[in-house]
């Protein structure tokens, strides 16, 4: 059974059809890219999987459960976490507190909510969050305000916050956007390490070189419809994909799109 299955999913905004008859599956442990020209509906697909938008038609199954109508806050508990294209950290919280938000799915219950952990030196939440930051090489930033950090660091904190939630599947919305070559390389290594722990990755990304190295499978959508699916080489060979990209803004396989 697939970990994630979109079954004939459709989404309209008013009269505008954004996603149409979209079906694809992601197997547990896979690294899959969702690509397509600008405005193809990629981010919308993420928003449908995470419940930000309700579906107009179709179903979403995760780990054997129909999550089509599940409230969005319940989905992370099943194992769906995501990062954000335009980094969405909490500006009024420190870095370590942002990471602690990622612990939320594991820290349920009223008692956990009302434990004055900040009065308890070495409380395990703080220790765990600091350990995660140290492991990611971000320990030096732990007590700083998020807003004071450089872009690349914020991007990594945003990713780490999602990882800390221990998801089965991680949805990454343009993780490499705005990163320089070295940062992109580090990101690749970090994501491979996450995948090695058995986390399934679904990536929306414009950097085709990055996608080619990271992902085993590619799903291409255009105007909200799936136009191709397979390995990068297979997808590149598809005339539909060539047409979509040549008419669009980039060439598949040109490295940076």
């Amino acid at each position: 059974m697939s970990l994630l299955a979109l079954d004939d999913v459709g989404k309209n905004f008013g009269g505008l059809v954004v996603v149409k008859n979209l079906s694809f599956t992601v197997e547990a442990g896979q690294r899959v890219a969702l690509i397509g020209p600008n405005g193809a509906g990629k981010s919308t697909v993420f928003n449908l999987i995470t419940g930000v938008y309700p579906l107009t038609s179709g179903r979403v199954l995760f780990d054997g459960v129909d999550i089509t109508h599940l409230p969005m806050r319940r989905r992370i508990g099943l194992g769906v976490a995501r990062s954000f294209q335009n980094i969405r950290l909490m500006g009024h919280l420190s870095v370590v507190e942002n990471i602690m938000l990622g612990q939320q799915p594991k820290a349920g219950g009223l008692a956990a909510l009302l434990t004055p952990y900040r009065l308890m030196p070495r409380h395990r939440w703080i220790e765990e969050a600091r350990a995660a930051l140290d492991e990611a090489g971000l320990g030096a930033y732990a007590d700083l305000s998020v807003d004071s950090l450089p872009y690349g660091v914020r991007k990594r904190v945003d990713l780490l916050r999602a990882v800390v939630a221990n998801p089965k599947m991680l949805l990454l919305d343009e993780p490499a956007a705005g990163l320089n070559e070295r940062e992109t390389e580090d990101l690749h290594d970090a994501l491979m390490a996450i995948a090695a722990k058995g986390v399934t990755l679904v990536v929306v990304e414009h950097d085709m070189h990055f996608v080619d190295r990271l992902c085993e499978r590619v799903v291409v959508i255009n105007f909200g419809e799936k136009i191709a699916e397979g390995t990068m080489a297979e997808v590149r060979a598809s005339p539909l994909v060539r047409e979509a990209y040549l008419g669009g803004d980039a060439t598949v396989g040109a490295g940076h799109a």
Partner: protein, 295 residues
């Protein structure tokens, strides 16, 4: 209650609604264009009336005194723009709201320091005169106010539709950033809008003073707060909604006084507002109030 008495109450409610209408339009312009709940409007209402009263006390002719009141209201509103909206574009919507409350307190207390907290008598422009139509008594002053309010609101709406600056204001209402890109000079359009808001509030304050023949530092409270209720009930950002809301609030107030007594009127007026906010926050004529944010 007999039919004739009821009809008279309806007339009274509509007349009262005329006063709320202008204030509601001022509120709705600030909300609709700038997404700014401008609590300084009751203060500007009062500033317009007080300035007119002072000028009259100093022996100015009516025309000059009214001009002075309008000027004071326009300047006050411009000051509010200078210190609230201009600084805070893109910040929490609460910040300008808070500053505008600061201005309300500032205006009221400056007037208190200058002229004390007593009600001051406002001279009568015209002798009290009632018209009788089909058994209904209509106060001339109130009727003039209502007609003037409608004319001004329609004029303001025409200003928004037809003039260059009006088109600029509407472009800003759609999307401030896009408007800037399209060449709308936001630094001229927004102050112009505030001055318009100030003038509407000032006119409404002066009309109120002419009708009730008194002014005080806190005269804006009740009217201003009911103006907010009127704006919300009609639908925030909708000028015709503000007119409808003003009339409805006037009617609710007059009829609840007639049926339940003066002490219960506020329960009905604000209860209606609360109920509407719960069941239909977008108001009677407004579009959808709930805009889902995009990731």
């Amino acid at each position: 209650m007999s039919g004739a008495v009821f009809a008279q109450q309806l007339v009274n409610g509509i007349m009262l609604g005329g006063i709320y209408m202008l204030i509601a339009v001022a509120f709705t312009l600030a909300i609709g264009v700038l997404n700014f709940l401008n609590f300084s409007i009751p203060g500007i209402f009062m500033v317009g009336a007080i300035a007119t009263w002072r000028a009259l006390e100093n022996g100015w002719p009516w025309v000059g005194a009214i001009a002075a009141g309008l000027l004071a209201a326009g300047v006050a509103s411009y000051l509010v723009e200078r210190f609230t909206y201009r600084w805070m574009r893109g910040l929490d919507h609460e910040i300008p709201l808070v500053s505008s409350l600061g201005f309300l307190i500032l205006f009221e207390n400056l007037v208190l320091i200058g002229y004390g907290s007593d009600q001051q008598t406002f001279p009568a422009l015209m002798p009290d005169f009632n018209i009788r139509v089909a058994g209904l008594v209509i106060g001339t002053g109130q009727l003039i106010s209502l007609v003037l309010a409608l004319v001004l609101v329609i004029a303001a709406s025409g200003l928004l539709e037809r003039t260059r600056i009006g088109r600029g204001i509407r472009a800003v209402a759609e999307n401030a950033d896009t408007a800037t890109i399209l060449g709308v000079e936001i630094h001229r359009v927004v102050p112009a809008l505030f001055i318009l808001i100030g003038l509407l509030s000032g006119v409404s304050g002066i009309l109120f003073a002419m009708n009730y023949l008194q002014v005080s530092a806190f005269m804006g409270h009740e009217i201003g707060l009911k103006g907010i209720a009127a704006m919300v009930i009609g639908g925030m950002g909708n000028i015709w909604g503000a007119i409808l809301g003003g009339l409805l609030i006037g009617l609710i107030e007059v009829l609840s006084i007639a049926f339940f007594g003066a002490n219960r009127a506020d329960i009905c007026v604000y209860g209606a507002l609360l109920l509407l906010l719960v069941v239909r926050p977008e108001g009677l004529l407004g579009g959808s109030a709930i805009v889902r944010e995009k990731l």
